[in-house]
Symmetry: C2
Subunit: 80 residues, 2 copies
Amino acid sequence: MKARITVTLKTGVLDPQGKAIEGALKSFGIEGIGSVRQGKVFDVEMADGVDADNAQTVLKQACEKLLANTVVENYRIEIL
Amino acid sequence: MKARITVTLKTGVLDPQGKAIEGALKSFGIEGIGSVRQGKVFDVEMADGVDADNAQTVLKQACEKLLANTVVENYRIEIL
């Protein structure tokens, strides 16, 4: 079973990396982009014999403990 | 208009960062995860007056020129 975890910065948290990308796009002459915020994505392949409910629990743990800093980041788990 | 760009490593490209995450999860006692591959996500807010077709073109350019290394990465553009 596959899952995708998307980790994004919470609204209001400054994103200097996103700002740098906006600047770089402008300097490359790419117009029409208002703002950019960067996040992370994790494509996870679950071990055999893990069902969807179980996967949700395990992945929530993984996010809370390692993948997301829940002070400044939101995470979303999708079972594919 | 909002869009999301997801950049992931192509199949077969080594992902040491993903491997490190797998190791860290195991050392935290989180079981049931087979493998992890890390990618990037960009949440883009288009400038006013840009329509969906136009956005697709601009974002494709942004991916090819800056956001993705198309030698080793795939990108996907979703207009939200």
